[in-house]
């Protein structure tokens, strides 16, 4: 019974191993063919090329900003679902948050492209206030990523808040804690593992994405470099080397998240 499953795991882990090995190969300068010779020149190129360093920094910065934005947007609705809404409304809200999470991610990015365009709905809505939208660029990318991954943050935080006994919040109130104090000193520390769990998704998904930056911006992210090196430039070893960057960042991130207790909250 475990046979086919075992083979599948071997195949999956095997291909991850191939990814790491391929990142050590190189292109023949002349023919452009892949040479199966092992060396660290791809990683050297990654570290020494200023553009690549900038791309990694940009990706990580946006990933962090997206995570913070989603925490802020997720908290009110998650708290409302967990502590205020009736059982019926709560069930409705869970479905309402869950469904868009599954609906085509590419179409959502594409819709934002239309909405953020010069004559799109965002500018139309802001125009009466004398404002204009961000247009395409880093701000648009940040906005679209925050949109895309928001449900991944809402659901774990909701589950986490639901586990906090109401009596604790009442106790804090009875002891004179104002709502903000209760939130800061009781709710937030108890919800931290859930926030960390949600942030794994918001962070990891941003690190590996190239669709949103392609559609609503002209700047490059880690994913764009991998994509263009597999497709157009046909430099598979460099693409493989760049694909290990999110893996390395995520390993560090997961180690930190584990310390915050995120794994009990997924």
């Amino acid at each position: 019974m475990a046979g086919p499953v075992g083979w599948l795991l071997i195949a999956y882990l095997g291909s991850l191993a191939v990814l790491f090995v391929a990142s050590l190969w190189q292109l023949d300068d002349f023919s452009g063919e892949i040479v199966h010779k092992v060396g660290f020149q791809n990683f050297q190129e990654l570290i020494e090329t200023p553009v690549y360093r900038k791309i990694v920094l940009r990706t990580v910065t946006i990933a962090a900003l997206v995570t913070i934005t989603d925490v802020i947007l997720a908290f009110p609705i998650a708290f409302f679902m967990a502590k205020v809404a009736s059982a019926r409304v709560r069930a409705l809200l869970v479905v309402a948050v869950l469904m868009p999470l599954w609906s085509s991610y590419l179409v959502k990015v594409y819709t934002w492209r239309i909405m953020l365009a010069h004559d799109g709905i965002v500018n139309w809505a802001l125009d009466p206030f004398g404002l204009s939208g961000p247009g395409f660029g880093n701000v648009a990318t940040w906005l679209v990523f925050s949109y895309l991954w928001l449900p991944f943050m809402v659901l774990p935080i909701y589950a986490g808040l639901e586990r906090i006994p109401n009596s604790m919040l009442d106790a804090s109130g009875d002891l004179g804690g104002r709502p903000w104090t209760t939130f800061r000193r009781v709710v937030l520390p108890l919800a931290m593992p859930a926030v960390a769990a949600g942030s794994i998704f918001t962070f990891s998904l941003t690190l590996g994405d190239y669709i949103a930056p392609t559609l609503v911006s002209s700047t490059q992210f880690i994913g764009n470099v991998v994509y263009s090196n597999v497709g157009i430039a046909n430099n598979l070893p460099l693409a493989a080397a760049f694909a290990t960057v999110p893996v390395a960042i995520m390993i560090v991130y997961l180690l930190i998240a584990r310390r915050l207790g995120a794994f009990e909250s997924i």
Partner: protein, 280 residues
């Protein structure tokens, strides 16, 4: 629990803002699908059904739809078989390395799609020498679809316990009869739910697809190839709305099938699991 009225309103408004943020783009694309004009300017001029007709008769869209259906069906079937076997193995037998295996099955979800895509691409093209085709797409999609089926089946098996199976065995049924008449009926709705989710997930996947596909186009790949052509945009809008509906409907059905009778508290766990699964 005491929450002041002012606070309740703050929470309601916050909830409304987040829901609006989530749903406005979905409503906007639905409106654009009926947009009369070729231009994508807002507000739209008027409404028409002609782009649905165009999309329906567009050979590129038809081929892509058919490819997507084949890929999603293939991936779902593979996932259903292997995911169920894995779930039974993990929850009914103890064996060496069990915890490691259950962690490794979740791994395709924790890594960004581009990593899985690159890894499979390198393996197919460099090591195995396989030409990229619909078959490689199915293998690629199966890696994460398995997780969805596995998660649903494991949750159901854990909840139902093993006492019914033990009773069946004690009454003299062999393991096949027990599976057929006891385990499978318990699992059935969970498997249908898992299959629906797997189908939805595969149907609109683009990143792993891009790295594992050959000459064919799935619907998302078709959209990605056409989003920058002003002439095609009305048809892209229609295809977009179709893809959204075809992924939302299975999810809605799956949600009803796997509805947890125990209560909302336990329901949060499958929700989190689904979030984890959709992380692809």
């Amino acid at each position: 629990m005491h929450i002041s009225n002012g606070m309740r309103w703050v929470l309601r408004i916050g909830t409304a803002i987040t829901l609006a943020f989530i749903y406005i783009p979905l409503i906007v694309i639905a409106i654009y699908a009926f947009n009369q004009s070729r231009s994508q300017a807002w507000p739209v001029d008027g409404f028409t059904l002609q782009w649905f007709d165009r999309a329906f008769h567009n050979p590129g869209v038809r081929d892509a739809l058919w490819t997507s259906v084949k890929a999603a069906t293939g991936a779902t079937l593979v996932a259903l078989t292997l995911g169920t076997l894995a779930a039974l193995a993990i929850s009914r037998y103890r064996f060496f390395g069990r915890d490691t295996v259950s962690f490794l099955i979740i791994l395709p979800l924790a890594l960004p799609g581009i990593v899985t895509g690159m890894a499979l691409n390198a393996t197919f093209t460099q090591v195995l020498g396989v030409d990229l085709s619909l078959f490689t797409v199915i293998v690629g999609h199966a890696t994460f679809c398995i997780v969805v089926v596995f998660n649903n089946a494991v949750a159901r098996l854990r909840r139902s316990g093993s006492s019914l199976e033990e009773a069946s065995m004690d009454l003299g049924a062999n393991s096949w009869r027990t599976f057929r008449f006891v385990t499978f009926p318990t699992l059935r709705t969970a498997l249908v739910a898992g299959a629906l989710l797997a189908f939805a997930l595969s149907f609109d996947e683009i990143i792993v697809t891009t790295f594992t596909i050959g000459q064919e186009q799935t619907l998302p790949i078709w959209i990605f190839a056409n989003y920058a052509r002003p002439n095609q945009l009305p048809v892209v809008n229609v295809v977009g709305l179709t893809v959204i509906l075809l992924s939302i409907i299975p999810v809605y059905l799956a949600n009803r099938l796997s509805q947890d009778p125990v209560g909302a508290g336990a329901g949060a766990a499958p929700a989190g699991g689904a979030a984890a699964a959709a992380a692809r």
